[in-house]
């Protein structure tokens, strides 16, 4: 029995933060199953009813591991009017955007058409999600900006969707996920990079996805905690592939954001790649520079989850390598591993670096400076 005297408490008080911030990873959700219907051709309504969706991997009824909290979200983030966490703009404003002084919020919708095998359906759902982001979110709150979601396994249709949204100020990036059918550097994804470069949109690579491969490099693990750390392995595979396949040689203006996979592993991955590159560069002669140089030039990193080592010096050394100009603050609202802006950065950071960390880097990357 769990009777609450006050059924629906007010928005959890946030300690708040005085300076304006950018939040580069916010997850908007659909309030109802049918919320996309107005943006989907009738043909797909009946298709969905009759055939459903077929993802690349099994466990169709939900994600492969139950999450630590319902919908992987904060338990205090259920909107008072009902629906899942992250599905109400007014509650998001009251609980997060206003008290935390969010000046720019980048939306990264999950549960899109990405990962669906029927590519026509995948493309239709992704495009519907993009329309929905405008109508439900970005047109109603100018602080919010969308991410163009695309049917990533079909490079041609994905590129068409990016071109359709190019120049639309409601969107500030293209969204991919890290778990795909193949590592992200492979040629099938290149039309996406070409279109994004042309549109001047950075590509956010968010941890997660339904590519059909096991969650770790050595198979399906037993625990959700292993999936959580598996995100960084997967992101490393994606990043190595992007560098080694020559994506940044071919698309020299492409900018990428590693979203929600940590960043503490970045230096060691780069050091390792540089070391083997010294001996094996003949295998990848299309690379003109050391792998670490591509990483430093082309990659930005969102902060949630921030590494939290025992010694803050270790954190600062890692950031020194990455560059204070490369980190983008993110909360991951409304998800359960949310980072509270006023509590996340240890003391001892200069004002200039704080300003870059919380706001300026994001404004610059997303062309809002």
């Amino acid at each position: 029995m769990n009777i609450q005297i006050r059924e629906r408490p007010d928005a959890a008080a946030s300690a708040g933060i005085k300076t304006a911030i950018a939040d580069c990873d916010i997850h908007p959700a659909r309030a109802t199953k049918d919320e996309l219907h107005p943006y989907l051709a009738k043909r797909w309504h009946s298709h969905l009813e009759t055939f459903g969706v077929h993802p690349y991997q099994g466990m169709m009824e939900g994600p492969p591991y139950p999450k630590a909290q319902p919908n992987a979200s904060r338990r205090d983030a259920y909107p008072p009017e009902g629906g899942p966490q992250g599905s109400s703009l007014s509650f998001m404003q009251k609980q997060h955007l206003d008290p935390n002084n969010v000046a720019l919020g980048v939306l990264n919708p999950l549960n899109t058409g990405q990962g669906i095998r029927n590519q026509d359906l995948a493309g239709a759902i992704c495009s519907a999600i993009n329309d929905w982001q405008i109508e439900k979110w970005t047109a109603k709150d100018s602080r919010l900006k969308g991410s163009v979601v695309v049917a990533n396994e079909d490079g041609v249709s994905a590129a068409a969707e990016i071109r359709k949204r190019a120049g639309d100020k409601n969107f500030v990036q293209v969204l991919l996920l890290s778990r795909n059918v193949e590592p992200l550097g492979q040629r099938r994804y290149w039309p996406i990079y070409e279109a994004a470069q042309e549109a001047g949109l950075p590509i956010g690579v968010h941890a997660f996805g339904f590519g059909g491969n096991p969650i770790t490099a050595s198979g399906w693990p037993s625990y959700y905690i292993e999936e959580m750390v598996g995100h960084s392995q997967c992101q490393q595979t994606a990043l190595a592939s992007l560098v080694l396949e020559g994506v940044f040689e071919r698309f020299p203006k492409l900018k990428m954001v590693m979203v929600e996979a940590g960043f503490g592993w970045a230096p060691s991955l780069a050091w390792r790649l540089d070391k083997v590159f010294a001996r094996l560069h003949a295998e990848v002669p299309h690379l003109k520079r050391k792998p670490s140089e591509y990483i430093r030039d082309h990659i930005w990193w969102t902060t949630q989850p921030m590494e939290d080592p025992e010694s803050r010096d270790h954190l600062f050394q890692t950031i020194e390598w990455i560059g204070w100009d490369r980190l983008l603050f993110a909360t991951d609202y409304p998800h359960w591993d949310y980072d509270e802006p006023s509590r996340v950065l240890p003391a001892g950071v200069s004002d200039a670096n704080r300003q870059a960390f919380y706001l300026d880097n994001a404004k610059q990357l997303y062309g809002m400076a």
């Binding site: 005297i5 008080a13 338990r75 025992e310 980072d339």
Partner: protein, 137 residues
């Protein structure tokens, strides 16, 4: 110490909780199987409204494969990152940062070998006076 009457007992049946603000401080009072507990409604980790979380039990293990589930309904799990606190004492059971390096020696207690973390949620004294629940602050 001021005493604040917060509710007739009937309004706070077992399994219920009440959120209130006393002297500008967010407080929550719980009725757990007839016993009353009060906590400051702020998580010592990143400041979440701690008492929005579910009351669960404590999973502990003496050996891989051996799992005990005790203190049913007495462990409050933070609605954000899920840190767990004993509602009787406010003591945290897990500090994820130190847990990994095991800076705290494992103390074997009756039925558990859970490492208590250094974080303690603030508890508030609650009394029932002639059928009113009263908080001391």
């Amino acid at each position: 110490m001021a005493r604040h009457v917060i509710a007739p007992v009937d309004e706070l049946p077992p399994g219920s909780r009440k959120f209130l603000e006393i002297d500008g401080r967010p407080i929550a009072v719980f009725n757990v199987k007839g016993e009353f507990f009060g906590l400051l409604n702020r998580c010592p980790h990143q400041g979440a409204a701690l008492c929005e979380g579910p009351l669960i039990g404590l999973a502990s293990s003496s050996d891989p494969g051996e799992i005990e589930y005790t203190k049913l309904g007495e462990i409050l799990r933070c609605p954000w990152h899920g840190w767990e606190f004993d509602i009787r004492t406010g003591q945290s059971y897990c500090d994820p940062r130190r847990f990994r390096v095991r800076a705290y020696p494992v103390s074997v207690e009756p039925g558990t070998n859970v490492v208590k973390g250094p974080y303690v949620a603030e508890t508030i004294k609650v009394a029932v006076e002639s059928d009113y629940v009263v908080v001391e602050l």
